[in-house]
């Protein structure tokens, strides 16, 4: 049977479409337009992630060094 002639699929095709509510609608429009007009380069995201990780490691090392030094005295 051709799917287009299946009354079940025809009934499914007649189901009403739904819309997001106004808040979601406006937020989505704004977010998408902002993304298009001010794209964040992925390379920048990678650089930010790497530098954040390095900073964290450095801070943890400094904390350990301070604790280790203070335990000596």
């Amino acid at each position: 049977m051709e799917p287009e002639r299946d009354p079940l699929l025809a009934a499914l095709g007649a189901l009403p479409r739904r819309s997001p509510d106004d808040t979601v609608d406006q937020a989505t429009r704004r977010a998408a337009l902002a993304e298009l007009e001010h794209p964040v380069p992925e390379s920048l995201l990678v650089r930010v992630a790497i530098s954040s990780a390095l900073t964290l490691v450095t801070l943890l090392y400094l904390q350990w060094a301070v604790l280790a030094a203070s335990s000596l005295y």
């Binding site: 079940l8 009934a11 499914l12 739904r18 819309s19 977010a31 993304e35 298009l36």
Partner: protein, 202 residues
Amino acid sequence: MEPPAGPGQADAEIVAGLRAGEARALTRAYGRYRERVYSFLLRLCGRAADADDLFQETFVQLARHARRLHPETDLRAWLFTVARNRYLSHRRTALWRRLRLALFSSEVPAPAGHETPHEATAFLGTAQRLERALGELPPPQREVLLLVGVEGMEQAAAARVLGLTEAALRQRLSRARARLRTLIPELVMRAGEEGKGDRDGT
């Protein structure tokens, strides 16, 4: 070159505009597919709150990839593929969350789309019965019916969205239709048992 089935001239223009980074093209794409993508996600998720998030992510993803779209992109298939991928990712997270809850709590929340028992529904008409039956289908069967039945997508395009061969899609579609047919008479019987609301509402 003949355009691929589905997108049409309007979509080709939108894709060209998106590749050029035009806000107007994005607005056109949003206006054209807003309700279709949202309806798909809402029926797939079964929860408006989840659909809202995934809907926004889908269009932000379109904006992010606008300049990198291939000129021949089937915009509709692209959007539905992204929406579905977002849903799958969301579902994996939700399953993991439920698993953790099951491990640490005796109370397990109901899966999406089944948050209300059938007796809570008045079954007012065919559309409601269909919506309810769709919600009871396993996600793989639901999504194929949403794309081919509700969205009216060609089988080849739906197969691309779902990452299936056309033969596999036909098989899944056939099973989904058979399953839906078995569900709807049950729902009609339930409605009949529970009251006269069915005919009054249609």
